[in-house]
């Protein structure tokens, strides 16, 4: 028996999973409240004690012990670039891909008031980009000068114009800041290069953020907190889609994670035009793309979800009668984020909210087709990813895992004939992560990728 203990320090719960690597099966899971305010170890020990009762041995004796974390607000970042649609967007995608919550983005020269806003937001890391290699250098240098003068004392990842990198690093280090120079997120116009920035962010996460968030104590009991939880989920999605040299993947997929505060969408797909004669425009998309919708959540951001959707979308999903009861339900769930629906009507409201969250999150994640009328007839232009041919759609998150018919929620992610320019999956096979296990498998992927992939496949339930 070779055991691995996988820990997810979530914002609410600390979840522990023990996997037997020889037999490739999950031996047990348990959870306890996350105790980051007092001592992170309390929650971890509590969960492990629970699991010990189920298993008959101490899970902390496992050979491998690794964790991911979204506790204490997760990994908070701001991204700075030059042009909003170009280096700012590229920097934002790198941060999202690293599993961060992007609090805000800043374009062009930073102003004094933007700097103040940044100081108030208190990011854990700043990602500083701007200019293609050999392109604009004045703006990133000026922004480094501004950051050097600010009271922010956080690590800064420099991923901009390589010609300016040395000067930028000199300015920041001169001010006593921890500055890491990596490759440009956009080395040439419209060429995306997010992987080096992503790796640098992860290094800083392991070296510094873990202890800054009071998680380093956990490292006395476990080998390490390897990554933010969303990065672990993205890892699992990539593993599932692409496979390993020893085990084939299932192919291109979309994964929707509906949480209490956010709805995350991960797609692992090329997203090239699926029809002939379509022109691709805009910034290229990373093959493994993650978007986070901070205004689309089932509990903490339930009210924001309703505002984002507007009344029409809700009455379309729920019918006018139920809509009238929505207000009372919203008040109940925002007051108590652990609230579960009590009766049939509340289940319907919960489901309706989930459908709207999935639909909106997918609309924002998927690419769009635009028709341009030229003197020679219509031309088709695609922005973002064409996900219409993607064969798999995976659902996770409380509302999907606990719902009787999760397919009804997930279908909201599908291509909609009434909204044909949104390039969402046309008729994918649907799966649910019924054990809520994907983050743990993303972590396990760091130790035993083949095993993690095989267990993930077993845990997906087809709808």
């Amino acid at each position: 028996m070779e055991l691995a203990l996988l820990v997810d320090f979530g914002s609410t719960y600390t979840k522990v999973t023990v996997v037997d690597l020889r037999d490739e099966k999950i031996m047990g899971t348990a959870k306890a409240f996350t105790t980051v305010e007092t001592d992170i170890m309390e929650g971890l020990k509590q969960a492990c004690a629970d699991l010990q009762q189920k298993l008959g041995f101490d899970p902390l004796t496992a050979k491998h012990k690794v964790a991911c974390s979204s506790a204490a607000g997760g990994l908070k970042m701001v991204a700075v670039g030059l042009v909003r649609e170009l280096t700012v967007e590229a920097a934002k995608r790198a941060a999202l891909g690293a599993g961060a919550r992007v609090l805000d983005v800043f374009a062009h020269r930073l102003t004094a008031s933007e700097l103040r806003r940044m100081e108030i937001l208190k990011p854990d890391i700043v990602l500083l980009a701007g200019g293609t290699d050999g392109g604009n250098r004045e703006v990133i240098v000026q922004n480094a000068r501004m950051l050097a003068q600010s009271s922010l004392q956080v690590p800064i990842v420099v991923a901009g114009n390589k010609v300016a990198a040395e000067e930028v690093a000199g300015l920041l280090r001169g001010a006593g800041l921890d500055c890491r120079v990596t490759e440009n997120v956009m080395p040439e116009l419209n060429k995306l290069n997010v992987e080096p920035a992503r790796m640098t962010i992860r290094e800083i996460f392991m070296e510094k953020i873990v202890s800054a968030k009071g998680l380093s104590k956990a490292e006395q009991l476990i080998d390490g907190v390897l990554m933010p939880t969303p990065a672990a989920v993205l890892n699992a999605a990539m593993l599932l889609a692409q496979g390993t040299p020893g085990e084939p993947g299932i192919g291109e997929l979309v994964l929707v994670d509906i949480g209490g505060a956010t709805t995350d969408v991960h797609s692992v797909a090329k997203g090239e035009p699926s029809k002939a004669g379509v022109m691709l425009k805009g910034l290229p998309e990373p093959q493994a793309k993650r978007t986070v919708e901070g205004d689309l959540g089932m509990r903490y951001s339930a009210r924001a979800l309703c505002e984002a959707a507007g009344p029409n979308r809700f009455s379309g999903v729920l019918g006018d009668k139920s809509c009238g009861r929505l207000e009372a339900f919203l008040a109940r769930v925002t007051a108590r984020p652990d609230y579960l629906p009590k009766d049939e009507e509340e289940w319907q409201l919960d489901e309706g909210m989930a459908r709207v969250a999935v639909e909106l999150a997918m609309e924002r994640h998927a690419g769009n087709m635009e028709v341009v009328y030229t003197p020679f007839g219509a031309s088709y232009v695609q922005y973002g990813k064409d996900l219409t041919p993607v064969p798999h759609l995976i659902g996770t998150g409380g509302v999907v895992v606990h719902h009787r018919e999760p397919a009804r929620i997930l279908k909201a992610a599908w291509f909609d004939r009434n909204n044909p320019t949104s390039l969402r999956p046309r008729s994918p096979r649907m799966w649910v992560d019924r054990e809520y296990i994907l983050a743990a498998m993303g972590l396990l992927g760091e130790i035993a990728p083949d095993t993690a992939l095989r267990i993930s496949k077993q845990c997906l339930l087809e709808l």
């Binding site: 042009v83 200019g131 050999g134 392109g135 604009n136 116009l189 022109m279 009328y373 030229t374 031309s379």
Partner: protein, 135 residues
């Protein structure tokens, strides 16, 4: 000496890609660093590209006769974006039908373009002008 960076593209709802590729090839061969934003390019795309790449010139093609509508306001936006000293070049079938080129040229210069080329101009002419203008 560092290569000069040029932004090249076909403006508006214009899908003529052949000339664009020829210019890309000829200019690259002539030693320029060409940032080609391709066909169906909007004014904003020209400006954003020039800003990020610190381009020394913006080269606009228009082949389908509606160039005037597409090009109007580009210079003003460049000024707003802080690109007032980046010269604008334009060429192609800039108007519908056969009009007196001197009138067309005058008109585009009023719109803020620094150099205006008639249909059938060979890349050599443009390259010679660029070498002279961007030193």
């Amino acid at each position: 000496m560092q290569k000069k960076t040029l932004v090249l593209g076909v403006i508006g709802a214009d899908v003529h890609a052949v000339g664009n590729r020829i210019l890309d090839y000829a200019l690259t061969e002539a030693g320029f660093s060409v940032v080609n934003i391709g066909v169906l390019a909007t004014q904003e795309e020209f400006i954003n590209a020039a800003m990020e790449t610190d381009a020394q010139a913006i080269l606009v093609s228009s082949l389908y006769g509606h160039g005037e509508l597409d090009c109007r306001g580009l210079k003003e936006k460049c000024v707003e974006a802080g690109l007032d000293d980046v010269p604008l070049y334009v060429g192609g079938n800039l108007v519908v039908g056969k009009q007196d080129f001197a009138v067309v040229e005058e008109h585009y210069k009023e719109m803020g373009f620094d150099r205006v080329y008639p249909p059938g101009t060979l890349p050599d002419v443009l390259i010679r002008d660029l070498a002279r203008d961007l030193h």
